[in-house]
Symmetry: D2
Subunit: 282 residues, 4 copies
């Protein structure tokens, strides 16, 4: 078994030594360590992974033991085990490309996750969900039932014990309550190179502006639309020959890959949120 | 000698045939033809280049002859000869990288242009100009003298018979009058992936937003800051490890290359402005 | 209906005018024209597309009429109609990613093609073929039956009236006879940046060499393995942290996209083979 | 002052803890630590940087103290101080672009280095060297004097106490003796995407093969031409429209940037050679 600690705290001397010594003294073999110091903010961040074989503290007690260490250095932290699969829910509407990509990669074994449930406001992708044998639940949304439907969704997510939510081109805006309920655990794909072309119809916006490159952005969802910490971005070159439909077609490939990569980082516990930004321990 | 016609007009049947037949019937050999139809706007655009050797109309009369053709189809057009060097003025402030890049490429023979004069509001780059033996004129700008200095600059530009102006990290905003005087003939480099991070300090803005990719944009200058038709853009990947200074360093390489490429397209008469966008006949 | 003519011939004066005049005189509206002159080889190449509505020559007679024109200029050419779907066969072995990508895009309507049959030397992808309701035929290959199986495959391909063959990670080498039978109509995806890492196990080769970038290449199949005309290539950055399995995982994304794009160009009749190279009329 | 230790050794438990504890116990503040375990080769590699302020071992004694630690773990290692400038010699022939790039960046302060001397087999770039006030020495090379000239070059390099040699499009092949003399300290730029197009005239080779992407590679020089450990690579997209001269022009930009980035990594002591590959601690 492999433990992964993601931790950030105010910077001070000797933090790497302290943490690595703690692991070594209990018999853990560090297999990966990467750290970063944000000099502006005087913050320290680290991702360290070690083998639990022969580790003198049992996995079950690890969290409470680490707590002592982290309390002393005033850290925010998250402990995970690579062998424990993250339970995710995928929210979709009508577009299938992002969902298809995630399901296909998951089946190939790329993701250390269990896709517990697919939630949609439409029925279009039910068949795809069934093809991969994933429970599919539909919650149609309109202006009147939104709040109530979200309550039912939350109940369902809790029933499935969901760790993280992936918005795979889900075309509804989640309420602030919902977002706060899953604080820093909702990942979205936006079909533009943020912060350019926030909001609706980014391909149309890009087409009208005459940009020579379009992009896609995967980010955590916060209460401010399209402003959450960015996990991954990528771009593709376009030209005057491309119609809006061409942009959508080319953009689909970006959306799929950018979301897939963001998810890959997240599921390997390589993403640490620091304020309005992320650190990706690649 | 090689003539290049850049032309746009309302779309109608037979335009390619009409134009190419006109050239062929006068004995011209088309060496490059590329066209584009904007279906949304019902507009036709073409770039056609032909050898003037054995062409039955002399170069001097060509403009007036083509005028008849273009009037019939209600076209906007520009005729150039590849062998006639575009006369450009480069505006700079203190940063040398874009100027250096242009001068070096020009010396290598990449640009079909004459760099007639370098204008700056500071003296820092005088020595670089002298090293390449280009006239250097300084017009210090403050809030009171701006309008007057621009008048003097325009006089100088007219004296040098300038065709186009390159803003190579020129840190002043040109007045609307100045911009209109050189309508669609001023090319700027903006150090962001427009329309993201318009205005001042884009690297700081990018750093604060936590983007994973930064960009640079070369565009024509219009009266609305950073909103002119885009000629060329490119990007580079960054990470949390990059400080603002790293962004500036990496961005410098982008700025240089993006401006250099935009200029290359422009000087080969491959850039056609259509409304708020450009067509690049690559 | 839209006709597309792909043509190459020895360069001479007036070719564009001649071809566009021919189209205009018969009432065709050119909607896209792109040409290229290879100065080294003195060859001319053109792709021209025009609307057949109101064209004075019926589609059925077009081929024979154009024949006269092309004979005069000693051209190699191919006439197609965008509305006539190319009939393709996809050859696969065990890897599903390229096939999945093609089937998914086809279903989305990206490809102007009919996927008539899937042929494999293994049964692994039968279910995927059935999910998309495409006939699946298995021809197991070993050293003794190869020649005979290819004969049966050819019979099947002829029965389905196949225009082009896509090798979507098909792990067998086709015989020279087979390749010649479908001369310039077999498209392969090779999982390296050709000509680097020809032959078997390119990811292992790339890993051992310690390259910082890996690639994929889609090309026409010729009798010389991995040496046919290249249609499309792309790359992805890797680092020392990537294992061979990481290379395979990242490479899968490249293979899918590069093959998909090559196929897109091909099905829009944008690919012209000129000697050992291709011209892509983008 | 900041010390940087680059170290590799057979993998074993507790190495990170041991090294970081050693630094912490002597009062050093680790400001950057990155490590890598090559599971195939069972090798451990680390780059760790720490502040020497308040470090209980003086800089002068550090090397001998670390020796004890590294002997125990059977390590290959190199200790540097960021404030001590690496002394480099640049070898050139006639092309100026790589030299120009290095000199310009150096002047901007990007490189933690002293460019002590420029050596060339031609006089073409003498003026450029003088413009930046760097000593320039010419050693014309022909088949007969090669061995003798190399001896004189080595004398000069020793006189200047050179740490590393940059071949900035130096068009001569160095002898095995010369290469061994500066083992793992000679950096070359090759104008292709290695291992494709080794040897002479790679742009011609690329043109003839009809690739859609060209590249450049910076690598350490070993006795086998173009086969040394790769430090950095990058690529640019080309098309059938590009002549060999276009390839050279576009390639120049790649060569400059790839060499510049490789040098940047090297001078920050981020490059560790492990067998035939490099680890770049970015």
């Amino acid at each position: 078994m492999t433990a992964v600690l993601l931790l950030s705290c105010p910077d001070q001397k000797g933090l790497v030594a302290r943490i690595s010594k703690y692991i070594a003294e209990h018999g853990g073999n560090i297999i990966d360590l990467d750290e970063h110091v944000d000099s502006d903010e005087k913050l320290f961040a680290i991702r360290v992974a070690w083998e639990m074989e022969n580790f003198s503290i049992p996995a079950n007690d690890l969290e409470s033991t680490i707590f002592k260490l982290t309390e002393e250095i005033n850290a925010t932290w998250k402990l995970s085990f690579l062998e424990e699969r993250t339970r995710i829910a995928v929210f979709v509407s009508k577009y299938d490309h992002c969902l298809q990509e995630i399901l296909w990669r998951h089946k190939l074994g790329e993701y250390n996750a269990e896709i517990s449930v697919i939630i949609s406001n439409h029925s279009d992708l039910q068949q795809l969900a069934e093809h991969y044998s994933i429970p599919f639940h539909m919650f149609p949304i309109d202006n009147e039932n939104r709040s109530n439907q979200e309550k039912l969704e939350i109940e369902l997510l809790e029933k499935f014990n969901i760790d993280a939510i992936i918005l795979a081109r889900y075309m509804q805006i989640l309420s602030e309550d919902f977002v706060n309920k899953f604080h820093n655990r909702i990942i979205n794909i936006h079909h533009s190179f943020l912060p350019a072309f926030k909001g609706g119809n980014p391909y149309k916006q890009a087409y009208d502006r005459g940009v020579k490159i379009i992009g896609a952005t995967s980010h955590f969802v916060t209460e401010n639309l399209d402003e959450g910490p960015i996990i991954e971005q990528d771009i593709i070159r376009i030209s005057h020959k491309d119609s809006i439909d061409d942009l959508k077609r080319k953009g689909r490939d970006l959306e799929r890959l950018v979301l897939a990569r963001a998810l890959h980082h997240y599921l390997q516990h390589r993403v640490l949120i620091m304020g309005k930004k992320t650190i990706i321990f690649e």
